[in-house]
């Protein structure tokens, strides 16, 4: 799952975009952060390979002959929560179009952006059935990129996930309000809206990446079928002809439009992605267009 050098370099030039949340969060937690004061010096720490050279304090380096990086207060303040839906329905698709792997790629990319800009990045897979501690990691700093990737590589999609329950479980631990990037197919038995509402109620700014595989958008199916839900095991009988297929395609389109409208109404940034599009293009172009990164 490692990125190649050029992709990583491109990612490191990006920054995660947040609008309201950071200010809101800072008000409660920071001592006296006023406008323009965000450039306050906070601390030094040792330079580690991968740190932006612009942040090295050259005066200290000249004096001590060791590179130190200046830490500034405001950069610690963005808490980035990357939530990846790990329900069984995400375990779908072949090869590079596999939804969960694709979602992990996106999580890794977003996480690496967060790490490179010194944000606190918490990555968690949303599962109802598992103990949450084992499925999340919280990191800061460029040096933990490998750590992040290793964590993501170890994740598996399994079980039934009710998005709302999973989000509530995630929020049981006190979480610093920040930017929540939710990567999910939204195929949750009780809908996705409560989960988004819950996150916003806790003061998070939410961005939703809606991942679907192409055969979910336009299923290559025909005839009299008994459809088995891979996640719930439930069956649905359909006699699939041209008309019903058209109706399904229309339904998927309408469903995505509903999700987009819901998100727009609640100030959630929304991006619909199909897994046949290269993930780096999604990060570099589509997310930028959706104002999730810049």
């Amino acid at each position: 799952m490692l990125f190649d050098e050029s992709s990583l370099r491109k990612l490191q030039q990006l920054t995660l975009v947040t609008a309201r949340v950071r200010a809101g969060a800072l008000r409660g937690e920071r001592r006296s952060l006023k406008r323009g004061a965000g450039l306050e010096f906070a601390d030094f720490r040792d330079y580690v390979p991968g740190d932006d050279l612009r942040r090295v304090d050259w005066n200290v380096y000249a004096r001590l002959d060791r590179p130190y990086v200046k830490l500034r207060e405001e950069e610690e303040d963005l808490a980035v929560h990357i939530l990846v839906d790990a329900s069984q329905s995400m375990d779908w698709g072949e090869g590079p179009q596999h939804k969960f792997n694709y979602a992990l790629h996106l999580a890794a990319a977003v996480g690496s952006i967060g790490l490179s800009t010194g944000d606190r990045v918490t990555v968690s897979t949303l599962k109802t059935s598992e103990v949450y501690q084992t499925s999340e990691v919280s990191l800061r700093g460029q040096q933990y990129l490998l750590h992040l990737l290793k964590f993501l590589e170890a994740q598996q999609a399994a079980g039934i996930t009710d998005l709302e329950n999973a989000v509530r479980r995630y929020l049981i631990r006190p979480r610093r309000p920040g930017l929540v990037i939710l990567i999910s197919d939204l195929l949750s038995p009780h809908g996705y809206q409560p989960a988004l509402k819950t996150l916003q109620q806790r003061g998070h700014e939410v961005a939703l990446v809606h991942v679907l595989s192409p055969d979910e958008v336009d299923p290559p199916l025909a005839g009299d079928l008994r459809l088995i839900d891979v996640e719930t095991g439930g069956a649905q009988e359909v006699s699939l002809d041209g008309g019903l297929r058209d109706a399904y395609r229309e339904r998927v389109k309408a469903w995505r439009n509903e999700a987009q409208a819901f998100c727009r109404a609640r100030g959630v940034r929304y991006l619909a992605v199909e897994t046949d599009r290269a993930w780096d293009e999604v990060v570099l172009y589509d997310m930028r267009k959706a104002r999730m990164v810049k």
Partner: protein
């Protein structure tokens, strides 16, 4: 519309299990999907119209029910009642004589008869066996107690009219045979334009007659022949007007491609007129007579064109004329007189020893111990020849023992073992000569072609041998004469009627006979000296017979003409006579059934194909 097997409609109940199978949805393929959530949403949208909607939407079910319906209807055998000539097993006799080529019924009488046969068969019940006999010169059974309508149709479509008269006696004998094989009482249907002989034997069962033809408008050449006269040849032609009105017609006579005569004939209804042309050249030639319209248009002169043209061959050969020049030889004289197809003449030397040769030509000259001053240019047989310009005589020899016979067509069946010759003239065999019999002392029998004439030679005086007393003598002489002056290979002076056999008897040297029909179809037979029977004389016109012996060819002709007043008389007969009963035109007083099941079966097949296409089309989607 009736159903001949309405019980089959009970099979409609099969629709119930089909619908039940659809309701139960027994054959659903299980497919795993990431989530059924969206499918449930889609189906919820559609639930409003269920369950009728489901059936309506299911094209495959609809198509399957349609297939079932078409098949059940086909099994029930829907049929329309139509008036028919016969209603059970039938024997159809189809007239294929020359008159059926007439075009007074478009496109021809035979086509009309074929159509009548088709419609008669279609109106018969599907299981009724049908026998079809085509009455030509050699009647043929083209379908025998056949129930397969397709096979009958194909056989009927292949039948063709002939150019000659029909052999009705044989055709009705075949029909009687077919009738006797069937247990029920079949109907015999004769489809003809009449012209049946009056003395036909009766047929068992019911006989029906379907007359064909409307017009009797026909002019025919009823005779065209040539005979030799003193001044050459004389041509005789006869033209008959068979129609009911007076007609004018132009008779043109051609010799090869050259127009000899063209004259306008005015013929009263039913009258005939003869034309004679005299002083025609003696040489062999093909003569052709044609009838055409006085207005010179290209339209045929009448509705039957077969009898508007006739051919005749002038071949004055006849009997071969042989001149025997001999001081007296009873053996030769008797033998020549005994050979058929041979006219023998004799010349004896005058008292002073001179020869007075006749001025006219002969086909063969036989010189027995004598020779004229100049040898004729015709084939010549020399017996005991004196010194002459063609064969050099070098004295005599008497050692004639140990004779050997060369294997040749001329020596076929010749047995020399008992022949004794006292003395023979020694002749040096020239280059062109072939020695047929040779002895220790020299040749005894020679033949050859000098390039000017054919020559045969027996080198000894017949009186000096016991040859004339042997059976071999007539055999050898006939073979020699056939070699030197071959006769006509066949005898057909008055022409041949269509379909009749021509027997060709080539002489012994002929190894191949090639016969060219008027349309230039070539038939080649290796005769090997035997006779050849040629039967393919259907086509009217002049046939060329080429006799090939080695690299030599001889060509002769014979003509095939329709000189049959009964066929040329196209007057449609309203009734025919079979046995003692007069049979008039059949009325369609029976009820036949025209069945439609084959269309329904085809429809079922078509829907099945559509269903297959729809089914696979869906799977592909």
């Amino acid at each position: 519309m009736n159903f001949l097997a309405p019980a089959a409609l009970a099979l409609s109940a099969l629709a119930i299990p089909i619908i039940i199978f659809y309701m139960l949805k027994l054959r659903r393929r299980e497919v795993t999907v990431s989530s059924t959530l969206l499918w449930q949403l889609v189906l919820r949208d559609r639930q409003a119209n269920a369950p009728w909607q489901r059936l309506r939407r299911n094209l495959l079910l609809l198509l399957q029910l349609l297939i079932l319906a078409a098949l059940i209807l086909a099994l029930a055998r829907p049929a329309l009642s139509v008036p028919a000539i016969a209603s059970g097993s039938s024997v159809i006799v189809l007239d294929a004589s020359a008159s059926m080529n007439a075009t007074d019924v478009a496109p021809s009488r035979f086509e009309a008869a074929r159509r009548a046969a088709h419609s008669t068969i279609e109106a018969l019940p599907a299981e009724a066996p049908v026998t079809v006999i085509v009455a030509g010169q050699q009647p043929q059974v083209i379908a025998s107690a056949e129930t397969d309508r397709g096979a009958i149709k194909r056989a009927l479509d292949e039948a063709q009219p002939t150019n000659g008269a029909a052999n009705w006696t044989a055709a009705l004998a075949l029909a009687a045979g077919a009738l006797s094989r069937q247990t029920d009482q079949p109907t015999t249907i004769i489809i003809s334009d009449g012209g049946l002989p009056q003395d036909l034997p009766p047929l068992p069962g019911e006989v029906r007659y379907v007359p064909i033809g409307q017009s009797s408008d026909n002019l025919s050449l009823t005779a065209l022949s040539l005979r030799p006269t003193k001044n050459g040849a004389e041509l005789f032609a006869s033209v008959t007007n068979h129609s009911a009105v007076d007609r004018s017609v132009i008779l043109s006579v051609y010799r090869g491609e050259t127009l000899l005569s063209s004259q306008l004939l005015d013929l009263k209804a039913g009258a005939a007129q003869q034309v004679i042309l005299n002083d025609l050249p003696r040489e062999p030639a093909i003569y052709q007579a044609r009838l055409s319209r006085p207005d010179q248009s290209d339209q045929p002169v009448d509705v039957l064109t077969l009898d508007d043209t006739a051919f005749a061959v002038n071949n004055p050969a006849g009997a071969r004329r042989v001149l025997l020049v001999s001081p007296g030889n009873v053996f030769l004289e008797q033998l020549l007189a005994a050979i058929p197809d041979l006219q023998a003449f004799r010349v004896v030397p005058q008292k002073d020893g001179t020869l007075q040769m006749p001025t006219d030509e002969f086909d063969l000259y036989v010189f027995d111990g004598l020779l004229p001053d100049d040898l004729p240019f015709q084939p010549t047989l020399l017996i005991n020849p004196p010194q002459n310009s063609v064969l050099r005589v070098n004295g005599v020899f008497s050692d004639t023992a140990n004779a050997r016979v060369l294997d040749s067509p001329v020596t076929r069946n010749v047995n020399w073992s008992n022949v004794h010759v006292r003395e023979a003239k020694y002749i040096d065999p020239p280059q062109w000569a072939k020695t047929l019999v040779t002895s220790n002392g020299g040749p005894l029998v020679l033949i050859g072609d000098t390039g000017v004439r054919r020559i045969g030679a027996i080198t000894f005086d017949l009186h000096d041998s016991d040859l004339p007393l042997q059976v071999t003598f007539p055999i050898l002489l006939v073979n020699l004469i056939d070699y030197l002056a071959p006769g006509r290979s066949f005898n057909a002076p008055a022409g041949v009627s269509p379909g009749a056999s021509v027997i060709i008897r080539p002489d012994l040297s002929v190894d191949t006979v090639a016969i060219a029909s008027p349309s230039n179809q070539i038939y080649t037979v290796r005769s090997g000296g035997g006779e050849v029977v040629f039967k393919d004389t259907q086509e009217l016109g002049a046939y060329g017979v080429t006799l090939i012996s080695g690299d030599q060819q001889a060509i002769d002709y014979f003509a095939v003409n329709l000189f049959d007043p009964a066929e040329s008389d196209l007057h449609p007969e309203a009734a025919i006579r079979i046995g003692q009963s007069q049979i008039t035109s059949a009325q369609s007083d029976e009820t036949g059934w025209q069945e439609w099941w084959s269309w329904l079966a085809a429809l079922a097949l078509l829907i099945l194909l559509i269903e297959w296409w729809v089914y696979h089309g869906r799977k592909r989607l």
